[in-house]
Structures are given as C-alpha cells and as structure tokens.
C-alpha cells in the first residue's frame, strides 16, 4: 500500500481502521485543502484549523462513504464550506471600525475557476503518483528549476542520455492517458454528508 494505491483501496482500508491508508489519503489531498484555504485568504492559523476540521469531519463520515470516487469532490466542497463558515464566524466577532465602513472585511467568494484550477492540480498530482516509478522519477527530475542537464538526469536515473527523450515522450503519453486526468470532468456533488 502506497500513496499511489487506488483511492478505492485506500478508502476501504481506512474504513477498516488502517492508519497507513489514512495517512496516504491525507498526503494525497493535503495540498488541495491548503490551496483552498489560501484562496480564501485565511490566516495561517485559521487555514490550519479549517484543514484539521476537514480531516476530522472526514473521519466522522468515512464509514458513510460508499463511493470513493466522490471523495475528492467531498473534500473540496467541505474545505470550501468550512473556509466560508470560519470567515463568517470571524466577521461576526471582529471589531469593526465605523470609520473604515467595514467593507474591507467582506471577502469576495473564491471563484469557481480558482477551485477548478486547484482540482486540476490535484488531478495532475494523482496522475503523477499513479505512474510507474521510472516515469514518475524522470518527470520529477524534468521539473527541477533551474532545469537539469540530460547528462545529470542520466547520471541520477542510471539511464543513457539517448533514452531520456523517448522515455520522456512515453511518460507524457502515460500521464495524459492516466485515469486521474481522463476522469477530470466536473465532479458530481455527492459522497457523505
């Protein structure tokens, strides 16, 4: 069982009480939850509280989760709702300076485009995690900024320089073909709660 195990397997194992499966689930979705908190411009402490609340609520609802494919949508929706809820709670207890008009305390709701972009990055991470090790490792080395020379990549992966180009092409093809990206259609609402 690894981070790249299918979500359905991880969810089923976590439902049976497997802490390692749970860790793999949170590892996969922590970046998404963090991105949504940042989009809502929460303070770092409030962002952490929202994140922790999302995980606690997922623990509460794990037993009800019948369709693991609905989990990403559930996490996204719950994270967003908890952000808005905490922002509202903070707004209520904030001391408002009448001279300032209070309008600066109103935060625009995060656009759907931002949320879709966050989910898209999530799908890319899922797709990367689902690739065979050799292809994933090559892609991760190609991402290094500033870029590594092919000679360096060849040395690190122990493959000939001449094979990097073809391997890279196959890795991209595999990424595009991955279920995580091909499934990236608008998420139906659903799942637990």
């Amino acid at each position: 069982m690894t981070e790249s195990s299918p979500l359905a397997v991880l969810v089923s194992q976590a439902q049976d009480g497997d802490q390692h499966a749970w860790n793999a689930i949170v590892e996969r979705f922590l970046p998404l939850v963090g991105a949504i908190a940042r989009q809502h411009r929460l303070s770092e402490a409030d962002g952490d509280d929202v994140g922790q609340t999302v995980w606690l609520r997922l623990v509460e609802h794990l037993g009800d989760l019948r369709e693991p494919a609905a989990l990403p949508g559930w996490i996204r929706t719950t994270a967003r709702n908890e952000c808005l809820r905490l922002l509202a709670a903070r707004g209520r207890t904030r001391v408002v300076d009448p001279q300032a008009g209070g309008l600066d305390t109103v935060t625009d709701d995060v656009s759907d485009a931002d949320l879709v972009a966050a989910e898209r990055r999530q799908a890319l991470r899922d797709a990367l995690a689902g690739l065979p090790d050799a292809r994933r490792e090559l892609l991760l080395l190609l991402l290094v900024d500033p870029p590594l020379a092919y000679e360096e990549i060849s040395r690190r992966l122990g493959i000939p320089v001449g094979s990097i180009g073809p391997t890279r092409a196959r890795a991209f093809a595999a990424l595009r073909e991955s279920p995580a990206l091909r499934r990236l259609a608008p998420e139906p609402e659903g799942g637990p709660s």
Partner: protein, 152 residues
C-alpha cells in the same frame, strides 16, 4: 477549460509547466498540517451516532459580514436532547435541553478533554476558549449527544 480532453491538447512543455505548479503546491504542506491530519484518524469510532447540526449562524451570513457583532449561535440535536451554544469571542455559553445534563465535555482535536460545569438548568459557560476545532459530548439521563466537529 476543463473538458476531460483538455490535457490531451497541451504541448509537453505546457503540461510540464502545469505539473510543476501542481508539485510546487504539494511542497507548501507543512509538517504541522500533516501531523494534525494524520492524528485526526485517532478520533475514528465505529458506529458513532453524531448529533445533527440544526443551526449555525455562521452558515447563514456568508458574504454579508462586517457590521454585525452578534455572537455566533449553534444548535445540535440528537434523539431527545438539544444543545444550544453561543460563542462570543473566547467565551462559550450553552444549554442542554431535553433532559437533566450530568456532564458536558468540550473536546479538542489535539488537547485533553475539558469537563464543563453544568448547572441544574443545563447551563454551562467557559471563558478563555482558544480557536480551533471543537466538539461537545453531553450526557443527560440515558442520552448521549456528540456534536460534529466545528472550527471556532
């Protein structure tokens, strides 16, 4: 922008750039967030029945904040019990309705349980409550009420 075929239309370099942003986002996760998320699993219980959230004033005012200093109010119900809670800054006040409460415990995800003093009318009050996820566990007669987690 998000048709399922979208990624197929990107060049390798465009895909690589998106991948870079996706991986960079994962690097922003802090150890503290990771540890807290993992620790949440220790709250897992099998077949626990949670109280229903009947009301949270913070859910009813999104987008129109700023001028209203009224305390946040929440209420939960489970079978014969109702729990009314008011949060005003770092003060929590509440009342258990439906049966005579024998105990009210404030639980925090990463701290010890805090038993609250509850009077004969079911009222309780606590000051100096820190922000973060909390929940309440109420014992009253034969009933138990466990609220869902809520960030305050």
């Amino acid at each position: 922008m998000t048709s399922p075929d979208d990624f197929a239309d990107l060049s390798d370099d465009e895909l690589l750039a998106e991948l870079q942003a996706a991986v960079a986002e994962a690097d922003l996760v802090t150890d503290r967030q990771r540890e807290a998320a993992r620790a949440a699993f220790t709250w897992r219980t099998v077949d626990e029945e949670l109280a229903e959230l009947l009301h949270d004033s913070a859910l009813e005012m999104t987008g129109v904040r700023g001028g209203d200093d009224a305390p946040r109010t929440l209420s939960f119900a489970s079978r014969g019990l109702t729990l009314e809670v008011e949060i005003d800054g770092d003060v929590i006040m509440g009342q258990v309705v439906g049966a005579s409460a024998s105990s009210v415990v404030l639980q925090r995800s990463i701290a010890d349980d805090q038993p609250l003093e509850v009077d004969s009318a079911g009222f309780f009050r606590m000051e100096g409550v820190a922000t973060g996820p909390i929940r309440f566990v109420v014992q009253a007669g034969d009933w138990t009420l466990t609220s869902p987690w809520v960030a305050i």
